[in-house]
């Protein structure tokens, strides 16, 4: 019953969402609803609060005001129930430099409670899909920024998240890398995505909704 009800809920419901850092307001009055399987593209200049919004949705930051419901769970009170259901691809790859790519993915799989056999199969599948299989046993510190981004995409989707939060996912990727990544984090009927980008030409065609954030201006949803 509860699962059924949760499924009918929008993936995201935000109302008057605000985040302050001291006296500075980084994010002001964001309100929207996003259905499951839809893509929200977030646009705005540097400092408009795009990454802040994504970090709030990922439960990494607490909102200062307003309401946020993610996958039927209210933030920040029920944040702990959301962890493991979100795939977050931020500016940092969230990979340990002294471990290999494969070791990093195994570590993430264990943290997310993915069984050993299933984790190995999934890791192999993702490494193949991102073209990282041959370099997977090298230390992350020895890889290029583009290769780290490919591994980071593997990390983001490893545990089969219901909601993808993608902060400039094409960063450091070459054309081939972008195409490979599209299969894992691109638009698909079963994927709900919030995508921050500075490349609207590429990503606007994928958008079901667009959120435009401005520095010191109210957010606009279209």
């Amino acid at each position: 019953m509860e699962a059924g009800q949760a499924h009918e809920e929008p993936a995201l419901r935000l109302a008057g969402l605000r985040r302050d850092f001291g006296e500075r307001t980084a994010l002001e009055s964001v309100g929207l609803e996003l259905c499951r399987g839809e893509t929200l593209v977030v646009l705005g200049p540097n400092g408009a609060g795009k990454t802040t919004l994504l970090r709030i949705l990922a439960t990494l930051l607490r909102p200062s005001g307003g309401e946020a419901t993610v996958l039927g769970r209210s933030l920040p009170g029920e944040a702990w129930k959301l962890r493991g259901r979100i795939g977050y691809l931020g500016h940092e790859p969230l990979l340990y430099r002294d471990l290999s790519g494969r070791e990093n993915l195994r570590f993430q799989a264990r943290l997310h409670g993915v069984g050993r056999g299933a984790a190995e199969r999934r890791i192999e599948e993702l490494l193949r899909a991102t073209g990282m299989r041959r370099r997977a046993d090298e230390r992350v510190a020895e890889l290029s920024a583009g290769m780290r981004q490919r591994l980071s995409i593997c990390r983001c989707v490893l545990h089969g998240p219901e909601l993808l939060l993608l902060d400039e996912p094409d960063s450091n990727l070459d054309a081939a890398g972008r195409e490979l990544a599209r299969a894992l984090i691109g638009p698909a009927p079963e994927r709900t995505r919030v995508l921050v980008t500075h490349d609207p030409e590429r990503h606007l065609p994928e958008a079901d909704q667009v959120l435009r954030l401005g520095v010191g201006e109210a957010a606009v949803v279209s």
Binding site: A58, T59, L60, L61, R62, W80, R83, G84, I86, Y88, G90, E92, P93, L94, L95, Y96, R97, D98, L99, E103, F107, Q108, R110, L111, H112, G113, R139, R155
Partner: protein, 226 residues
Amino acid sequence: MTPTRAAFAAILAKDLRAELRTLQSLPAMALFAVTAFVIFRFGLDRTSLSGSLASGVLWATLLFAALLGINRLFVAEREEGGFDAIRLAPIDRGALFAAKAAALLVFLLALELVVVPVFAIFFLDSAAALGPLALVLLLADLGLAATGTLISSMAVHSRARDLLGPLVLLPLVVPLMIAATGASEPLLALHGPDYHRFGTWLAVLCLYDLIFLLIGWAVFDFLLED
């Protein structure tokens, strides 16, 4: 929710693997301790130490060597995004505290495996005290690991972490060091180990360990919040 035991094992294994691969903490800790013993040996101009002096030399050296490891305990989590990765996972954050404290405990025990024999060669006439001393070392290490993990997790967010960590940690471990030196002093007596008030000091060490392990487990979740 991932079982706490599985999360604990994953984080501990990750930390030990990273240290084995990079040797960023242990060699520096061991080098510091051995250098300090050499300085004490020539500075005090003594080939043999006993009682409170031996105990003081041993624990002052171990404490400051431990600080090197404590300062680095959360650097990878801070600089490589490990905190975020762990906060995104469906795990009890207490598992991170327990795993980091266990990793630090392993580092301290490995350090002592190397430097306590050096201490014995430099300063002790007999190795008879080393057996019971191992128990004191283990209990004091447990306290240092719990307190060090707690303070290191707070200090790592500051740019002045190398200064802040010791500043906060050192006053907190004074009771631990008093108990450790108190327990070690009769063991290192001139005419062989004596067990006067040994049990009392061990009880103090156990109490300290229990208090800081419980505090660490209880407050660690809040320390990870933004």
